[in-house]
Symmetry: C2
Subunit: 403 residues, 2 copies
């Protein structure tokens, strides 16, 4: 007998028909003799609907009350899932965040789960019942309702897997699993059967929004195996493990890209300690995210070039910030607003020589100019002209044997 | 400084614009220096929407989970009202049923409030804050969410008025107050300024569904003055008091009617102890409500006639029940399915001789035949042919000086 967390995302519970379907999946797992904890998201669209209600009441809606409001979304799903399971003759009960309780730390709208009481739910599981729990929420030490950020139901599922020491944590969603690249744009994209946490994180941060990144991080820290799979097919999904448990026959696991980027280059910046901090400090204050930052070793010992990317929508504001900033001296500022970032991701890269060369060579063959390069242990990213995005992704997908 | 309960019904919080409007009313009362506890219903239509979701999941939806589901309706309104008040710079906070807590007794879907903890909220009121509380719900002794029956937000408001010993309890709704008869059908209907609990109960039970009857009963038992008023006008509403505090210049306060009734008469029923119980026992078991029951003194000492009314939709089932019931002997069964009940209600009736005569005389003048009569201390009801309903109400409204 195994103890399992089954987490259903918004589209998987997006209608009462889908809720009944999810209940069948839960029943099947229960019939196999597993002890089940179900974690649910709000029905698809519900959270946005509630947010829009709050906005039409107030532009600066109280953060505390927003959490009171939004937490009803998952509560509704909990009741409906439990009702559907009851209808099938299954012993089940919903447990609200305050009934468990799920304790959180940090501020409203952005709290984080620190602990849960396991007694009530473990007793209920032992009595043969299925526990249904709302994702995305908890209560603070002062007893207020809190939420843990968009997509936080994944984080709840992982936290439950950890705290209840379950054998697995299955994330039911509207896709088959993690793909080697975007299957909507690149039809040869393949579902990945197994992937490491690190690769998953790199792919997530590059636009493969299958799971919330912080949930994957938590799973990685506590070594909780995850499985992402579709609610709507019986196909095996993607298993996400510690990379030590994976066998890498391929150097590259996936090719990701992000569009809507812009690139800014500051030429001949005075090369002195703290200059990067001085450049980027006002960006943080203005809520502008900086993505890649590339700085070469100074050639003359006095000046250096700094290139960085940001979201295209932030370009104008970014240029204004740089012009206003009197603390930094540079000779020239250039920018390009139609670039995209192409990344190859693979935990096997470290042990496979020549991956970098192979990537650059492939892009050269396609006559695609590389505007900037950034690498990490399991990822190589390049900035290119946006028009070449699909061509580059297809080429890389092919030469790294992912088709 | 007064302590007040302000309760807003579903239509009063039916949209974000209405929620903002309700917030203005609350602010006005708060600006006058009052300590305010706000009780809210779910937004109009919300409870039905949730019920219909539950029905499409299961025909026998779990009662426990239905309460988990339905309680989200008021929770949403609480958050939105608090958000709207915050936006106006007012110190305010929502308190969920389990945060207070509101303790209930009895089964799911039909619980009743037995107590509340006052400390947290009294402290908050003393600190100058406005407390916003969901109506219609509480938690059971085992910590489950419970609801207290449709319209239960009125009951919550009255319970809070009692437990927090407030100076008043104001019910904001979509009508101006209690009317002398149905203003939609009888245009000369007048708003009643003051009315006793008993009269209000009689009028409520006869179709004037402005307030939930059990809430009025509770107010009566604990002598809590109520005020029913419109959210949408500044007009004074109707004050509901103990009848000892009212001065009755008029014998009759209002004329009520209920349609969709059916009348059944059993002729020459064996007149022996327990016969009425034997007749009506199976009705209770079949969830059929019996309204008026009239039994005359036996003329021959052996048999008597029994007439009663029920909802028209229950007529066929009622006749079947009577035919199947072998415990009772009677000579003849007659029924009429198109009748209505007309009632005059007035606490001043007791001290005003001739009210009964005046009523019957007036109906005779209109050539309306009375099929059955039933009286209580503050009410006289007659059953007549349904076609004469409006004619009878108009006549009675006029002769008792209510126009």
């Amino acid at each position: 007998m195994k103890k399992k967390v089954l987490k259903f995302g918004g589209t998987s519970v997006g209608s009462t028909d889908r809720i009944k379907h999810a209940a069948k999946i839960i029943k099947k797992e229960s019939d196999l003799g597993n002890k089940i904890i179900v974690v649910v998201s709000a029905m698809a669209g519900k959270t946005n609907e509630l947010i829009s209600l709050s906005k039409s009441v107030s532009k600066n809606f109280s953060k505390r009350e927003l959490d009171v409001l939004l937490s009803t979304g998952e509560q509704v799903t909990c009741a409906l899932i439990s009702g559907a399971l009851n209808e099938m003759g299954i012993k089940t009960k919903s447990f609200m965040n305050w009934q468990i309780p799920i304790l959180t730390d940090g501020e409203n709208n952005n709290a984080r789960i620190i602990n849960m009481n396991v007694t009530k739910i473990n007793n209920y599981l032992s009595s043969g019942g299925i526990a249904v729990i709302p994702g995305y929420q908890g209560i603070s030490s002062s007893g207020d309702i809190t939420t843990i950020g968009r997509g936080g139901s994944d984080a709840t599922a992982v936290a439950i897997a950890k705290i209840f020491d379950t054998d697995s944590c299955e994330i039911y969603t509207d896709v088959d699993g993690i793909y080697s690249t975007d299957p909507n744009k690149i039809p040869v994209a393949k579902k990945i059967d197994k992937i490491s946490y690190e690769e998953m994180l790199e792919l997530s941060s590059l636009g493969a929004k299958v799971m919330q990144s912080s949930a994957v991080q938590t799973a990685m820290i506590y070594d909780i195996p995850l499985q992402v799979r579709s609610t709507f097919t019986d196909r095996q999904g993607t298993k996400i493990f510690n990379k030590d448990n994976l066998d890498y026959s391929k150097a590259v696991t996936g090719v990701a890209y992000s569009k809507d980027d812009a690139k800014i280059t500051l030429q001949a910046v005075e090369d002195k300690p703290g200059v990067a901090a001085e450049i980027f400090e006002p960006f943080g204050k203005n809520q502008i995210n900086i993505d890649m930052v590339i700085q070469n070793v100074s050639s003359d010992g006095k000046t250096t070039d700094i290139t960085f990317t940001t979201k295209r929508e932030d370009l104008v504001k970014s240029l204004e910030i740089l012009k206003k900033n009197n603390n930094i001296k540079f000779k020239n500022l250039s920018y390009k607003n139609n670039v995209s970032k192409i990344s190859i991701v693979g935990a096997g890269m470290v042990t496979t020589p020549g991956v970098t060369y192979k990537m650059f060579r492939a892009l050269a063959e396609e006559k695609i100019n590389i505007l900037a390069i950034s690498t990490s242990e399991i990822k190589i990213s390049v900035i290119i002209d946006e028009v070449f995005t699909v061509q580059a992704v297809k080429k890389l997908h092919n030469i790294f044997n992912l088709d």
